[in-house]
Symmetry: none
Subunit: 222 residues, 2 copies
DNA sequence: CGATCACCATGAAGATTCTGATTGTCGATG
DNA sequence: CATCGACAATCAGAATCTTCATGGTGATCG
């Protein structure tokens, strides 16, 4: 696992590098956008952490240039919220962004998330799963019940996919809320129940795979 | 799970404490940095929530001092964005920071994220264990007795899993009540006995693994 | 405006706790 | 070494409390 750290401030590069190496990554550094483009094209990095404000070539322009030849995952570091323009993010296929000032552990959490997302989407792609008459195609975001396409809501897909990814593992409502709804969701536990109910309806007879663990949460049991 | 709340304003401490306890944390309080350092060094907290502006010793200096002996996760509460100085954050290994004014649920979300981030790197999915004909799968919340699925109540699972996690260790009823029932359970000692009884029934012949320690408590003996 | 979602109230199913009676254990003692 | 007393553990079941599925409501958003 090799990452490229791009920032004009050497202090930041050093700190990030230290944390990254501590997490078992190898880390190269670049001091501006031009350098970053050259290095990113010459090598296959698993991830690039890129500052926005830099001399010679800014972070967004560097991304655009890199994207012409590579689709290396990129995390953007931007100094203020409004510096990160959504338009840019969408166009350039930015994987995540972190606003400065940031805490290194937080950044590392994002790094690991992006890397594992890429990896899992690579291995899981083209591998629809079948549980009896229930076919689940995560990459295509399709679910078939006895061969018939199930039309589900976004949350149902998210919930089902998370359950299936962690099948045979007991999941608390809190865990589900955190992972499916997001850590910044301040909602009610019962919300999970409601969506489980709707998901079960969508799954017809295959609702049986979704097991209630009383006093605990739920589990997809295959 | 025990956290330390550090702030000079008692109102803030109270609010945070209330929320934290609602989430199942135990919470101690400190009114300034000096106090915080003393307490954090004396005990192993799972997390420290630390204000920046405080009399006697400010939050950052307190972190620095604590970091000399412990690497307890720390969340910083800072009054304004610019009060959180990058230098500080980097040097001190702050896990996250929240700017005042904050909403308690947001803070709690961050707290849970930090704690679970720390834990997930360690305590992940546990492999199923077998003791003769008794199979225990904690992640799946499944127990098999001679290959037959045992259908148990939540407390039975919790109790059994805690006993097994601490197998060959003598556990008092008080310890079990605190760890399995929760620190806020003010019930009778006999409650443990009752659940031990039901657990033994569920385990059939493998009840023999649960040993009574007269005048003491119980032990899972493998 | 329709789809989706979060949240709430409800009641039934299920789990937990407590009580008090019973049984078991162990050391002291005649 | 048999017995007793004191205390600890076990047990059954009734009362109480919790939890979850469900259906409905209102908010939100495209």
């Amino acid at each position: 696992m090799k990452i490229l750290i791009v920032d004009d401030e050497i202090n930041i590069r050093n700190v990030v590098k230290e944390y990254a190496e501590h997490e078992g990554f190898k880390a190269d550094e670049a001091g501006d956008g031009m350098e970053a483009v050259t290095m990113a094209k010459a090598q296959d990095y698993d991830l690039i952490i890129m500052d926005v404000m830099m001399p010679r070539l800014d972070g967004f322009s560097a991304c655009k240039e890199i994207r012409k030849t590579k689709d290396t995952p990129i995390i953007i570091l931007s100094a203020r919220d409004d510096e990160y323009d959504q338009q840019h993010g969408f166009d350039l296929g930015i994987d995540d962004y972190v606003t400065k000032p940031f805490s290194p552990p937080l950044l590392m959490a994002r790094v690991k998330a992006v890397v594992s997302r890429r990896n899992s989407s690579r291995t899981n792609v083209t591998e629809p799963m079948t549980f009896e008459g229930l076919e689940i195609n995560m990459s295509g975001r399709e679910v078939y019940v006895d061969g018939k396409r199930a039309n589900m809501t976004p949350k149902e897909y998210d919930l089902l996919f998370y359950l299936v990814k962690n099948r045979n593992i007991a999941l608390t409502r809190d865990k589900l809320l955190e992972e499916v709804w997001g850590y910044d969701f301040f909602g009610d536990d019962r919300t999970v129940d409601t969506h489980i109910k709707m998901l079960r309806n969508s799954l017809g007879e295959y609702r049986k795979f979704i097991v209630t663990l009383r006093g605990m949460g739920y589990k997809f049991e295959a």
